[in-house]
Structure formats: structure tokens, C-alpha cells
């Protein structure tokens, strides 16, 4: 490959990059390099050499994913660790797996070719953001080794939204304002005002080796605190802040490694606990570790699993961290009695999901189940920009859900459950994609009582719906009770799958079948973890389908609702869904008598949710509520996808 090097230090006039911003682009395709109009090279090794030559020579690196001499992600890691520069990934491939890989490896952004000029214009924000962090943590004057770095690097495509929050002033010099919420949340070293400019610290291989040695020593004895690491390393010229930010990145890196190698729990645990000791205010990891601690106490959930899922979280956005924190707060699972609160009054679906996951974790003792939920909630937060809202209200609903799951196995209850539409509603709204793991656990824990079931039933009441009116709509659901009785497990699953079903019914017919298969294969009766493995793959495939479908449905619903709360149209949609659901439920009922109930449950869920929605729409359902329902469905759906993604990735 030929090496093309064009020096355009003053790219500002072209409009692509601000004045003076020095970008290094690495790509084996000269066409793209020419387009970018910056300093370019086609070999990753050359790029590294250029970067190492002069640490302050470049502000930003844009790297292609597919390169002949080195993997783009590897280059990304190296640049991040050594030079601490923001790296943006570039590829013709927009596969979500690659995007996710980019995030986990610490990319600031992931662009898809063809690169639009406008996207390039926004890139400077990454550099600027880091520089602002520099102001807070006086470690570097040009690039930011801020604590929030990991948080920033997590967003691949949502950066545009986040960038909007960044100060738009195009200045290369230090900014005085510290308005960024990221600064506050990620500012691990906020306590030190940006008084001095320290020379930028480059983490060379030797230095990093010393760092790792120090960390490993400390982790064994006490917690690896930056101060102690600094003392152990005994190197001049680096400050505690340097070490702290590097430690943060290192932990991210470890998490990623451990999650990729099916989690070396001990390391993760150490990392997690160590991280928990750091005074990281806004980091989701901190919160997750806190949550983890809380989770451990009530439910005795395997720390490993939680940690693995938690590890993934720190890379998520602020919202995620907030939501996680909220989840943590919700940790003390409310007893069923508490669930009677009007859960669904304007409860963002995300919250419910999170809480549901929380409560599920606490109530259900299963490893695999916990992780997906945590991750799912985190993922759902990432995907959904809906801010985490009234957690308190959602908590009851969330806690009720697990109970539902537990209760489902009871055949006798199924009849009662069906009769109670409220319960359906709850489940449909709150149904977590998480279901596969949870339902499996539910099955195993047959000790769950009817009490929970009944209580959950009571709890699940949509604010706007009249229970009496709802009962009429569940004609379809009657079928389920019969089918349910044949399958103990199915009942539990039913409730969970409603949101998923709801979103997917209209568009997905085949996936439902596949989902069923997946669940059957999951073998809930068996080891939940193994089930997850089996199902993860399929989940992943369906997830994307479902996501699209649910999003589509969700959008449809939302569009239906706002204009005058046109319930009629909505009911039409629901009718369609119901039709689809009903058709599916019957065969599923018949065929799945011997299989895991999850598919059946899902179908029934879908049906129920569809009918419920239909009923509601027929009633004087306020548009706002519909929206919240749609949100719930949407959110739960997203979380389901997230859950699936997580399960798959973890597997």
C-alpha cells in the first residue's frame, strides 16, 4: 500500500476541521484519505510511529477498521493507552457488532462510510471535550486524561446528541467554563482546580508495565488506589491524577478483556471492588458496584455474574449511570404489598424495566438472569434517550414483575391470573426481555407462592384502565389459561414477554416462532446459564428483528397517540396485533405443551398486551398514558434487545 502523507495543519478554512486541529487519518483506502483532507497514512504502524514521535503533534486520530497490517481496533487500543488521544473509527461496515466493538475498545465515535462532511465537522467536539476535561484535571494541556474519558468513548452513534451538549466554542485553548455535565459527573479530580499546566504524560510500554505491576501488587493486598499506585511505581513526572485516569482506562480495558474471555470473575471482582473504592462520582461503574453490593446482600446473587454485567456498564452514557444509580436505589425490593402503588402513572418504561430488573435480581436467585437484566437495563438506558424519571413509582411495578414470574409456574394461579387483567397489563408493560433468564429461574424456583402472584396481579394496574373493562378484553387470553395449565412454566413466561410480544406482533410472525424455539432450546428447566448460551445466539438474531419491529410499532403507536389521542387508530393497530397474537397463540399452545413455556408465554403476553391496549384505547385512555404505555413497551422492548445483546455478548 502506498503511503500518502498530506500536511494540512490548517484545515480550518476547508470547513471540515477547526483551525489548527491536527488530525491523523489511517486508512488503507486512498480515496477516503483524500476525502478527509488531513494528515494521512495508510499503514497503522506508520501512524503509530508518527504518533509516538511527537505526542503533541496530533489532536485526533481517525482510523479505519479494516487495515492490512493491523486491526483497527488494536490500533485504537494502543493509541488510547499510549497517547491518550481521541480515536474515531471508520468503516464501510455498519454492523452493530463492529460498532459495539469500537465502543468497548474505547473509540470516541464510529463513523460509517461514506463519511459526510457534516459529521467531520462535528468531530472537533471530541477533542474539545477532552480539553475541557483537562481544565478540570490539571494533567495535560492539550489532550484530556479526564475521568470521563471512558464515559465519552462509549458512544458510537449517539455522539451527535451528546455533542450537542458540549460547548460549541471552537477554541483550541483551554476553556474556562465547566458547564459540562460530563465534567461534573466524570470529574474524578474535580477537587483540584486547573491551576497549573503539567506536561502531558505519555504512558510508554515501560511505564505502563510498572503501572500494571503496581496495580497487581496492590490489588492483592489492599485496594488499588491511585496514590498507592503512584508510590509503588516510584516514577517521577507523573501525578496522582495521571495515574488515576490511567487506572480508569486500564480497568475499562480489563473489563473488556474479561468480558470477552467469558469473564474472569476474580479479576473482574477485584476490579469492581477496587473501583468501588474510588471516589468516582458520576461513573456508572461506581454506581453499579454499589448496586452490586446491594444486590449481593439481599439476594446473594453471584457476584461474578453481576460484576460481569456491571463491568460493561461503565462504558455507557451518563443516563445509564443515572439509571443504574436509580436501580441501585431501588435495590431494596419492595414487598408485594408496596406494589399496589399506581405504578403506571407516567412511569417511564425504562425505569420500570430497570426496577424490574432490580427486583428480579433480588428476588430471583440465578446468575445468568441477573446479568442480563443489569446489562439490559443499562443497555436500554443507552438506547433510550428517555430520561430516567420517577423511579419510585416504577419500583413497585418492577418488583412485582419478578413475583409474577415466580408465580407463573403455578398452574392454579394461571386461571386466576388470566382473569385479572391488571396482572396482564402489568406484565405486558413491564415485561422484560430479560424473560428468558428470569423465566428459567422461575421455573426452577417452584417454591414461589401464589401470594406473590396475586399480589403482583393487584399491583399491575394501569392507572388509566378500569380493571373491569379490561376483563372483557381478555377473551383471547382465556385460551392461555388452558394452555398454561398444561405448562407450569409457560405461565411465568407469559407475563414477561408481553412487551416484546406487543412490539413484535404486528411485524414479526416468524421471529415469534423462532423465539419460541429459542426458549425451548433454552431449556428453562435446566441450567439457566446454559440456556442463555443456547438462546443468546438466537436472541441476538431476533433481537435485531424485534428491535426494528418494536421500534416500528412503537413509532406507529406514538404517532397514533399524539394526534388527538386517536384511540381508534390505535385500537386498530392493536386489533391487528391481537389477530396476529391470537393466531400464534393457538398453535403455540398446542405445540408447546412439552416445551418450555416461554414461547407460549410470549404469545399470550402479546395477545394480552394487544388486547389490553385495545381495551384501553377503546376506553377514554388519555393520550399521555398511551404514550407512556408505548414508552413502556418500547423501553421494555429495547431492554429486551439489550438483554439479548448482553446475553449474547457475554456468552
Amino acid at each position: 500500500m502506498t503511503m500518502v502523507e498530506v500536511r494540512r495543519n490548517l484545515g480550518g478554512e476547508n470547513g471540515n476541521f477547526p483551525l489548527g486541529m491536527r488530525v491523523l487519518a489511517v486508512d488503507d483506502d486512498p480515496t477516503c484519505l483524500k476525502l478527509l483532507d488531513v494528515t494521512t497514512t495508510s499503514q497503522a504502524k506508520t501512524a503509530l510511529k508518527m504518533l509516538r514521535e511527537n505526542k503533541n503533534r496530533f489532536d485526533l486520530v481517525i482510523s479505519d477498521v479494516h487495515m492490512p497490517d493491523m486491526d483497527g481496533f488494536k490500533l485504537l487500543e494502543l493509541v488510547g493507552l499510549e497517547m491518550d488521544l481521541p480515536v474515531i473509527m471508520l468503516s464501510a461496515n455498519s454492523d452493530t457488532k463492529l460498532v459495539m466493538k469500537g465502543i468497548t475498545h474505547g473509540a470516541c465515535d464510529y463513523l460509517v462510510k461514506p463519511v459526510r462532511v457534516e459529521e467531520l465537522r462535528n468531530i472537533w467536539q471530541h477533542v474539545l471535550r477532552r480539553k475541557k476535561f483537562d481544565l478540570i484535571s490539571p494533567t495535560t494541556d492539550e489532550t484530556c486524561q479526564g475521568n470521563g474519558q471512558s464515559g465519552k468513548e462509549s458512544e458510537p452513534t449517539d455522539n451527535e446528541d451528546k455533542n450537542g451538549k458540549v460547548n460549541r466554542k471552537r477554541k483550541e485553548e483551554e476553556e474556562e467554563e465547566e458547564e459540562e455535565e460530563e465534567d461534573e459527573e466524570n470529574g474524578e479530580e474535580i477537587e483540584d482546580p486547573a491551576t497549573q499546566k503539567k506536561p502531558r504524560v505519555v504512558w510508554s510500554i515501560e511505564l505502563h508495565g510498572k503501572f500494571v505491576a503496581a496495580v497487581n501488587q496492590l490489588v492483592l493486598k489492599v485496594k488499588a488506589v491511585p496514590k498507592r499506585i503512584l508510590d509503588l511505581m516510584n516514577v517521577e513526572g507523573i501525578s496522582r491524577e495521571n495515574v488515576a485516569s490511567h487506572l480508569q482506562k486500564y480497568r475499562l480495558y480489563l473489563k473488556r478483556i474479561s468480558s470477552m474471555e467469558s469473564l474472569q470473575e476474580s479479576m473482574a471482582f477485584q476490579t469492581l471492588s477496587a473501583r468501588g473504592t474510588l471516589p468516582i462520582s458520576g461513573l456508572s461503574s461506581y454506581q453499579t458496584s454499589g448496586m452490586l453490593g446491594r444486590l449481593n446482600s439481599p439476594s446473594g446473587i453471584g457476584l461474578r455474574n453481576l460484576s460481569s454485567s456491571v463491568l460493561i456498564q461503565p462504558s455507557h452514557t451518563q443516563d445509564l449511570s443515572n439509571s443504574i444509580a436509580n436501580i441501585g436505589k431501588l435495590q431494596p425490593v419492595v414487598s408485594p404489598a408496596n406494589q399496589n402503588a399506581s405504578l403506571f402513572h407516567g412511569i417511564p418504561a425504562q425505569l420500570e424495566l430497570n426496577q424490574l430488573q432490580q427486583s428480579k435480581r433480588t428476588s430471583d436467585l440465578f446468575d445468568s438472569g441477573c446479568d442480563p437484566t443489569i446489562f439490559t437495563s443499562a443497555n436500554s438506558l443507552v438506547d433510550n434517550t428517555v430520561p430516567v424519571g420517577s423511579l419510585s413509582s416504577s419500583l413497585p411495578s418492577a418488583s412485582s414483575n419478578p413475583l409474577f414470574l415466580q408465580e407463573n409456574p403455578q398452574q392454579t394461579l394461571s386461571g386466576g391470573v388470566f382473569g385479572n387483567q391488571n396482572s396482564f397489563k402489568v406484565t405486558s408493560l413491564n415485561s422484560e426481555p430479560f424473560n428468558t433468564g428470569i423465566s428459567g429461574s422461575n421455573f426452577l424456583s417452584n417454591g414461589r407462592c401464589n401470594e406473590n402472584w396475586q399480589s403482583t396481579i393487584q399491583v399491575s394496574k394501569f392507572p388509566s384502565n378500569n380493571p373491569s373493562s379490561l376483563s372483557g378484553t381478555f377473551s383471547h387470553d382465556r385460551l392461555l389459561p388452558n394452555g398454561m395449565r398444561t405448562n407450569n412454566s409457560s405461565s411465568g413466561l407469559r407475563i414477561q414477554s408481553s412487551p416484546l410480544v406487543f412490539s413484535s406482533t404486528s411485524t414479526i410472525s416468524a421471529p415469534l416462532g423462532d423465539l419460541r424455539e429459542i426458549r425451548c432450546q433454552a431449556g428453562f428447566v435446566g441450567d439457566v446459564q446454559s440456556v442463555n448460551q443456547a438462546t443468546n445466539e438466537k436472541w441476538g438474531e431476533h433481537k435485531t428483528d424485534y428491535t426494528q419491529n418494536s421500534n416500528h410499532i412503537f413509532n406507529t403507536l406514538n404517532s397514533m397517540v399524539p394526534p388527538n389521542g386517536d384511540v381508534g387508530q390505535l385500537s386498530q393497530i392493536l386489533d391487528q396485533h391481537n389477530g396476529v397474537c391470537n393466531g400464534k397463540i393457538d398453535p403455540s399452545l398446542v405445540s408447546q405443551s412439552n416445551r418450555s413455556p416461554s414461547p407460549l408465554v410470549q404469545l399470550s403476553e402479546i395477545e394480552k398486551s394487544a388486547t389490553e391496549l385495545k381495551t384501553r384505547s377503546n376506553e377514554d385512555y388519555q393520550s399521555g398514558q398511551m404514550k407512556s404505555q408505548g414508552d413502556l413497551v418500547h423501553n421494555s422492548y429495547d431492554s429486551l434487545d439489550d438483554l439479548m445483546n448482553e446475553m449474547i455478548s457475554r456468552v
Binding site: N14, D28, D29, C32, K34, L35, A92, N93, P114
Partner: protein
């Protein structure tokens, strides 16, 4: 007269571009490319496109070699080449070529040799078409620049 010629040539250029857009051969990315051209880089578009042609021909030759290799088709390498071709084609706005490449990549992912061959032939055919049209475009562009540069003699 010469001044009018420049305008006419510009009209020809636009007509050709509109035609290519209508056919779906090019898309708006090509327009973005044109926007990057200004006084400081007056031949930006033609430079980029020439680089693209140069690289693409190499890739196409490699692809043809891989596809015709009956014994043991290296689909992985094919995929890598295709990825690059997709990237560069989409970067200059060659929409139809990009789509064919995507289909080609799908065929190669499925290890389908007949589909790959068919896609390759379609790709080569479309590539020749695009190259001819863009050459034509640049020729008109050159003429237009020359025509616009001509000044009317001052009439006394």
C-alpha cells in the same frame, strides 16, 4: 460566443450529472465531493475520482482473480477487497456500484460462486460505464474552464 460556450458547457455538465443521478449511478455524496472543491483545490473532484479509479481497478483485478479461482475460493479475501471497494465507492457517491458491491459481499458471505461471478460481471460492467461517464464529465469540465478563462477583447 466563447463566453456562451462556457455556459453551454456548464449546462451540459449539469445535464450529464442529472442524468447520472436519475439513473441512480451517483448520489448526493458526489455533490459533497464537489463542495469540497474550491479555489484552493480546483481539481479536487477529478483528483479524488482518479485515485478512486486507480485503486478500484486494482481491487477489481484481484476480485476477478479470486472469483475465477475455482479450486478454493478465498471468500475472506474477497470480503476484504469488497469492503474496501464499498468504502471508496460510497465515498465518492457511486451509488450503483456500492449496491452491487454489497450484493457481491452478501454472495461471497454465502460462499456462492455463481452469484459471485454474476456480481463480478455486473460490477465490471457498471464500473466501465461509470468511468466513461465521469471521464466525459471531466472533459466537459476542462473545456468549460478553458472557455471561461477566455476573455473578450476590449472593444474600443
Amino acid at each position: 460566443m466563447l463566453g456562451l460556450g462556457a455556459d453551454r458547457l456548464r449546462a451540459d455538465m449539469n445535464r450529464l450529472l442529472a442524468f447520472l443521478f436519475h439513473q441512480g449511478v451517483l448520489d448526493e455524496q458526489f455533490l459533497q465531493l464537489q463542495q469540497l472543491q474550491d479555489e484552493s483545490s480546483p481539481n479536487f473532484v477529478s483528483e479524488v475520482v482518479n485515485i478512486y479509479f486507480h485503486e478500484s481497478e486494482k481491487l477489481l483485478r484481484n476480485l476477478r482473480g479470486l472469483v475465477l479461482e475455482r479450486e478454493f475460493s478465498d471468500y475472506k479475501r474477497m470480503g476484504i477487497h469488497l469492503n474496501q471497494l464499498i468504502g471508496s465507492s460510497s465515498s465518492i457517491g457511486a451509488k450503483r456500484l456500492t449496491n452491487i458491491c454489497v450484493a457481491f459481499r452478501a454472495a461471497s458471505d454465502q460462499n456462492n460462486p455463481t452469484a459471485c461471478l454474476r456480481a463480478l460481471e455486473l460490477l465490471e460492467h457498471d464500473y466501465c460505464y461509470l468511468k466513461n461517464k465521469l471521464h466525459e464529465f471531466f472533459q466537459i469540465e476542462q473545456q468549460r474552464v478553458m472557455a471561461a478563462g477566455v476573455r473578450y477583447p476590449i472593444q474600443n
